[in-house]
Symmetry: C2
Subunit: 355 residues, 2 copies
């Protein structure tokens, strides 16, 4: 039986993506070769790579606006480093909203001064700070659009004239934003875009070339841009699966259509969290809640064992909260159907009735 | 029809690996989840990662000898950088035997003095320099065991007391060496070990901790070692496919058994290259020839079109030489069956008969 997969990432992908990938691993489009054994210089793979790069820009509404898309390796963790290597000449401003922001700050400090404009660390990151100022003389402002661990999301972007760098790993392609406000967007694929093993990097080219340090080739955005994301052997399969997922997103109506479905899923679950006396949401202010990752705790720990058995028996996977928060986390990425959320809500109601 | 895949990488993998992967993409071991959607913190994936790391050390005969294995991202190109970031304090010695060695030299120069102990660049890398001295006061000696583009292979290692760092991307697991002579071995997976998207790094732990610079987390071998190769989300599918390939290698009898098969394949093809007046090997000295990548050219360019049609019609893929060498390159990695080499030899003989 197919599980209801609420895993925070790697996570559920569309069933048609699994099916197409499974076939392509045996034989890619009937050419007598597995997608895993084709050369990255073959016309087949160049088409996959170009298609994936184009679809990414298209979904974000960034075609013909001075942006380019790359599919790199190393996850967002490598981007913490690459962003500062490429952009941080003197000082940068960082908004600290969770574990991943904190890690980004740590890496940036190797390359220059980091001004933490605000942090919600004092309250275990259960809210998004809103009242802060970005100094006008920083090289860039860095933020994390969605905090996978704590279940918070930035709803609005601050006004600033400096380039905005954003880690969108856990909510890219899930909601509409004016993406042209960003100078650099990066996202590990393993939430809304594909399997683990590749990272989407979207760069406004004019923000590059402003630091004086030497940048090692593999960390240099310009090197990768000049080689159309093929400076070295790319992660062929991960890019292929990402392309299939971006195609699926297009079939589904793109980000706008997906945003509505995501709002419906989040609405269903958060309504239950707020209604059901057995549960309590982790995030302090409802306006900061993430539609991607809903974090919640039991109000009565004595029912834990029973509730855990119930959701596992209902075929639910990946609901345990991160150790920093405890309790539960329901990750509802694009590919998770509304029906899976309904199954979870039913279990929560059953737990209430039988408590 | 399944192709005879002589692609230089990404390349042919064992058919049973394609078949198991295809199934696991739909449902991993009957757990109701695709291998692409399981958490990297799940017991299933931790088992895959540990199994892959153990198998790698086991095949190399490096268990309980102070070595650890990592599965990282970024390919050998990222290792050019990481090796020097972690090991190069003052100066290092490099043997330059081809395009990849040259790239490794370039990255290392950002971190210290590089002494190029020898180079075969003067002859378009068609031989392996043998007469050179490694200064005793360098931090390490770096070499490339097999030159994929030029078709040469280091048959013996120089004697030295400094740590030996080796890029084994294109011949790891293909032949027996005393691997305990190496301080650091790295290899992009996409030849003998798996699909593109992960890189095996085997480190003798006592060579670390000797440089004074700050190392960014993602580039720090120690950070990855301390987290058992799970500092950040690993490329789940690429590690899984590598594990399957290492299991297949074990079933086949390991490196020693594989080496015999590889010698038979190489013997068959090189004998034909030397015998057939239509062809000429690229490598200057037979003793430097790589069993992995056989590079050869036509003696009469006028038969090129006909020969190209013939091998394509025989179901052969990936035989075009690299632009630096021209002509042809037959990559005969572990998973390529002897039968495929026989098909190529038959075509070469047919080309001779009908020329």
């Amino acid at each position: 039986m197919k599980k209801h997969n609420f895993s925070p990432g790697p996570c559920i992908l569309p069933q048609q993506v699994f099916e197409k990938t499974s076939k392509a691993v045996l034989d890619y489009n009937g050419i007598g070769l597995s997608v895993m054994e084709i050369s990255h210089r073959s016309k087949e793979f160049i088409e996959i790579m170009e298609n994936a790069r184009t679809l990414a820009l298209e979904h974000l509404g960034l075609e013909n606006k001075g942006y380019k898309a790359l599919f790199l390796q190393g996850g967002a963790s490598m981007q913490f480093l690459m962003a500062s290597y490429n952009l941080l000449e003197k000082k940068a401003a960082y908004l600290n909203t969770g574990t991943w922001s904190s890690k980004a700050v740590k890496e940036a400090k190797l390359f220059g001064e980091v001004i933490e404009v605000a942090s919600s660390k004092d309250a275990n990151f259960n809210y998004i700070p809103k009242d802060y100022t970005i100094p006008p003389d920083v090289d860039y402002f860095h933020c994390t659009s969605n905090n996978t661990i704590f279940g918070t999301q930035l709803k609005t972007l601050p006004q600033t004239d400096v380039p905005v760098v954003c880690d969108m790993s856990s909510d890219i392609f899930s909601r509409n934003l004016d993406f042209s406000k960003f100078g650099l967007i990066y996202a590990g694929a393993q939430k809304n875009m594909g399997p683990s093993g590749t990272t989407l990097v979207v760069i406004k080219e004019d923000i590059l070339g402003k630091v004086s340090r030497s940048i090692p080739s593999m960390l240099d955005y310009k090197v990768h841009l000049d080689k159309d994301s093929m400076f070295n052997t790319p992660p062929v399969l991960a890019v292929y699966v990402s392309m299939l997922t971006l195609e699926w997103l297009k079939e589904k109506g793109g980000i706008s259509a997906m945003e509505k479905i995501n709002e419906a899923k989040a609405g269903l679950l958060y309504t239950e969290i707020d209604r059901n006396p057995l549960f309590k949401g982790f995030v302090a202010q409802k306006g900061d809640r993430s539609p991607m990752n809903a974090t919640f705790n039991l109000t009565d720990e004595s029912v834990k064992e029973k509730f855990d058995t119930m959701w596992k028996e209902a075929g639910i996977n990946g609901l345990n909260g991160h150790r920093s928060v405890g309790g539960y986390r329901a990750s509802m990425y694009n590919a998770l159907p509304l029906e899976s959320v309904q199954v979870l809500v039913d279990v929560m109601q059953e737990a209430e009735r039988t408590a």
